[in-house]
Symmetry: C2
């Protein structure tokens, strides 16, 4: 959710959300992506741009087109759905990008959760470029509480170590609220996004403590060393490291898919979209609480009010504010990025 891709005072272009969607679709279709995939991919990129999560906005078209040109990613594979149990559905993305697999699978997931109270959507064999918050947010629209997690390419050392084992391994959570935006968070279990360290490298700035290690496992302020020979660190010391390991296990071996180290080994480079799985869990409060749902909703709202009432922000507050602005005024995009995106169609 960095603003880093929009340098201050830079020349920008303003696009409506409809124009953004058309632009993303045009690029993806130009590269032979089937309409269902292009629509699903464009939707999550436009959502990112709309909410000022620029690193997950149309910027991602550059990475996606690179992966398509490499020939590693399917342009048109249909997601293959397998019912594993009354509460577990698996979707094999067949080496395509993940958004369509999520859209197809989430319909089954919602049915299962509404029938049984909880359920899991396993996505296997996908290329992953998207943020997780659009997925959990979508599930909250069905009145469900949801969790999503995925590994990435290995670039993060475990606490007490020195070599990359984990990916940036994000965790997203969504909680439905009546008459308000859902309560949503989505954070990497690395101290910062890898792209953030890349920006420090480009500008030659020293990294803050806690972000990276050199090849000997010592704290390192040099971004290039961290990226090339060292490793990133998790947030929150050994606790953040434990959480990263949980995501690695649950969205890797549990679902029969690659760990971050395996994904990196398969790809061989850190630049491309990683190829692995994703796990989404959802819960219907009606099956979990034995009391009047209004009491539970009131307790959750009291919690949110206790947070905002003392001047702290809810995790997605800034994102929803950006959304409200974008829906009226459109979004500003750095002209250089816009030019790069248009060049993808030449």
């Amino acid at each position: 959710m960095s603003d880093a891709t929009i340098p201050k005072d830079a020349d920008t272009v303003t696009l409506s959300l409809a124009e953004l969607q058309t632009l993303a679709l045009d690029v993806l279709r130009h590269h032979g992506v089937s309409d269902p995939h292009a629509q699903a991919m464009a939707r999550v990129m436009v959502a990112g741009q709309r909410d000022a999560c620029h690193s997950h906005g149309l910027f991602r078209l550059l990475m996606c087109v690179q992966s398509l040109r490499d020939g590693r990613v399917s342009r048109d594979a249909e997601p293959l759905v397998t019912q594993r149990s009354p509460v577990v559905v698996a979707v094999d993305a067949q080496a395509a990008f993940s958004p369509l697999a999520f859209e197809v699978g989430s319909r089954h997931l919602v049915e299962k959760v509404r029938a049984c109270g909880m359920g899991a959507l396993v996505i296997n064999n996908c290329f992953h470029f998207s943020a997780l918050w659009p997925e959990v947010e979508q599930l909250t629209e069905h009145g469900l509480c949801a969790l999503a997690m995925t590994p990435a390419h290995a670039c993060v050392a475990p606490a007490g170590g020195r070599s990359a084992v984990f990916g940036t391994n994000p965790l997203a959570f969504g909680w439905p609220r009546a008459g308000a935006h859902p309560y949503v968070f989505d954070f990497a279990t690395s101290a910062v996004a890898r792209g953030e360290i890349e920006l420090y490298r480009r500008s030659g700035r020293a990294l803050p403590p806690g972000w990276g290690l050199d090849e000997d496992g010592e704290p390192c302020a040099d971004a290039a060393t961290v990226l090339q020979r060292g490793a990133m660190q998790t947030f929150g010391g050994y606790k953040g490291s434990a959480l990263a390991s949980m995501i690695e296990l649950m969205a890797g071996p549990l679902i029969g898919d690659l760990t971050s180290a395996q994904s990196l080994a398969l790809d061989g480079r850190l630049g491309g979209a990683p190829h692995h799985g994703e796990l989404i869990l959802a819960f219907d409060p009606r099956f979990f609480s034995g009391r009047d749902p209004a009491l539970d909703q009131a307790a959750a709202e009291a919690l949110f009010a206790a947070i905002t009432g003392q001047g702290a922000r809810l995790p997605s507050q800034r994102r929803f504010e950006a959304r409200a602005h974008s829906q009226i005024h459109g979004v500003q995009m750095a002209r250089a990025l816009h030019t790069d995106i248009l060049a993808l169609m030449q």
Copy 2:
């Protein structure tokens, strides 16, 4: 998991695990706790003492007896089981301590997960004093991956705030390993345990940065101020705070039970065992992975080997080492604690 209750060079007594179990049972029975409850409670306290998690060892008898003397806790209520769906079971502890409710409920949980691939155990209306790792570890013995979470008494501020909203809200995770101890972690989402800050207060030492805030939300090194007028902090900044909020919501309003703020308001003091709910989730890998389980087990083992191979420790390594020692040599307990425990029977 602090060693703080055993001062160095202190006079100690050595007890076998069987002697510890007998001691705990004697105390609980002396206070009229029914045999099923006493057995379940003693088992988790002995497990804590055995694994050198002294703050969750027989030390907890002091808090439990205080709560019993207060008349707030039931000595003999039978856990009331309700099947909420094919995958959700709820146990009303009826204002007794939680360990028996877990033992009764986990049998249903295991059946559900083996039949459907995943399941949830909701524990409501319990008094909570135990660590969560014994529970997830027990579920791994059935070949299941497990998560457990619970609120506590509110004493932790959200990131960017100044007033207590969250409890220490622990999260525990267990992963089964063939021929080895399971992979288990159990951490508070507060920066440290509340007892740790209490120890700093007693010794008059300054708190390290990141542990606590004063009443204005400013970083505070004075333990008494943090405990009496300020608030503890979460681990890992706004990400740890987000995780604490997830636990608050999932083990509170989702399951129709109290938040940490509600639990504290009900009790009125921070010293007693908190009265709230707990959520346990379990997953059977056979339903989640579409490939040969040996491949998934090998991938998980490769992950663990990549962590330990670079000199980092697995989260429960120290605990399992302490267990191996205790099983042969028994455990050492500070004589002062032993005396205090014996005095509970006078």
